[in-house]
Symmetry: C2
Subunit: 153 residues, 2 copies
Amino acid sequence: MTTDVSKYRLNHVMYRIRDPKASVRFYSEALGMKLLDTMHSDEAKFSLYFFGYEDPATSSTARLARQGVLELTHNHGSENDAGFAYDTGNGDKGGYGHIAVTVDNLDAACERLDKLGVRFIKRPTEGRMRHIAFVADPDGYRVELLENPELAA
Amino acid sequence: MTTDVSKYRLNHVMYRIRDPKASVRFYSEALGMKLLDTMHSDEAKFSLYFFGYEDPATSSTARLARQGVLELTHNHGSENDAGFAYDTGNGDKGGYGHIAVTVDNLDAACERLDKLGVRFIKRPTEGRMRHIAFVADPDGYRVELLENPELAA
């Protein structure tokens, strides 16, 4: 048996969500990702939602043969418990930080998200780092926004 | 101002690490990632380490113009405190789950990581899901390993 590490890829990141309806809406409509795949297990009482951006540079659209995939895990029932909340990682000793989405134009992207009612944690005009923004997803997970220098004018 | 969501990309995932020496060794030597970029701030007392796999399908090697980037944040000083530990997300109410790396051959990849002394959380031979494995990074963050179907024989 042999393995060639040059063929390895960072395929996805996974976190758990309380309410798939809210999260699917956020990642599809607000962030513009495509729902690549779903898996549901009634027996084990969980569902998986796989998101990613369409990327012509990626040789395959299959979710296991590409990078930049977001896997959201929903343990059935949490959506009916309004008091349920996951630890989203940025409190005291919280290890998890955020995902980051690169955009073509940061100000225009923020203006669009503002109109869609997305909650901002940090706008480009706030703080010292004017080249980044942070928004919150429905669970409160942080999503950083920053410009792709190859797309920005 | 306009923005085109079809140009957005899922660029990176960030989490915090206790000891950069241990993490750089793990992600470089064990997982075979390339250290794409580093940033250090003595004033704000943190360092950033950006990792990713080389990907011919990606149009650019610039870390902001690609997908599949792992950003590790080191807040200076934690490496000298043996009792310091980040919450890596999989306890009670833990939202963060894992990153996943696709490999060419799961059994061969696991055999190689075993020889390197990497800690396994789940081997392919354990549990019901025989097509995946989980290893732990130096902080205990979970890394899932699974086969890329376009590479597997």
